[in-house]
Symmetry: C2
Subunit: 134 residues, 2 copies
DNA sequence: TTACCTGCAAACGCTTTGCATCATA
DNA sequence: TATGATGCAAAGCGTTTGCAGGTAA
């Protein structure tokens, strides 16, 4: 571990951070890149990956893996939460995490520490229930 | 949805199933393929993937995603469970699912139904805690 | 001016798929 | 014999990396 990088300020870094702040949900690198592109922001996909990984490494962003791809979200704001995902249309709703005490009790009973956890609940949202009932 | 496949019995299917039974931890498809190869069992990697996916689809095997690859394990019992995963060495321990009532309460409060859920808790296992403390 | 950052494209690792062949039922 | 299963290799997908040129400090 040598001296850390000067952390230069760039247009692209800003764009990634800003866009990340605008999504309150997890986004994939590709998704973020597409959103920036739609906005007219010119940025390489590799740069998006590099920025997101840097944010994740520094602890500024949270990541989860879903369905083979890595999703990122700025962390630190409102504490972490999980998602209720509609299996049909993909709509997501934030839900509160399970009790930390419960997690800790389970982990420590096996001698593990708790660093992070993921929880996702899948079902049908109200709209898709209507569709299916038809 | 038409009639389902006859499910033919083959040497390869047996080999995958047997090898899977021999590991008490999660294994990747590549890992399982290598183990079979070491045993002298001739089998294509694609077949291993196909068998594992078939097992997972049918509900006979559990899968988790760790570090970019999918890991499989026979799920021994009917009731489903979750995992406590060591971030360092990958060791996993089964844990009980959160209360169904809790899940249902959360989902229905948003008008969702509950079909399935995933929960993974990451931390350090006892051995890796010692390593880190060093 | 320096050296970090970027963009492009090629490389990468894991997984899936097309297709001709094999073998179970 | 008929058809699902297999093996091989190529394609696919998300992600990372090498390198030449760009740009903040």
């Amino acid at each position: 571990m040598t001296a850390d990088s000067p952390a230069r300020h760039t247009r692209q870094k800003d764009a990634v951070l800003r866009q990340l702040r605008e999504c309150d949900d997890f986004v994939s690198a590709q998704d973020l890149h597409r959103r920036l592109d739609d906005e007219g922001v010119k940025i390489g996909l590799a740069t998006v990956y590099r920025q997101l990984n840097a944010l994740a490494d520094s602890g500024a962003a949270d990541t989860i893996r879903l369905d083979g791809q890595q999703l990122f979200r700025l962390c630190g704001d409102d504490g972490h939460h999980h998602h209720l995902v509609c299996r049909e249309c993909g709509k997501t709703v934030e839900i509160d995490p399970p009790s930390e005490a419960w997690l800790r009790r389970i982990a420590t009973s096996h001698g593990f520490t708790v660093e992070s956890h993921t929880l996702e609940v899948f079902g049908l949202c109200p709209d898709c229930q209507k569709e299916t009932a038809r």
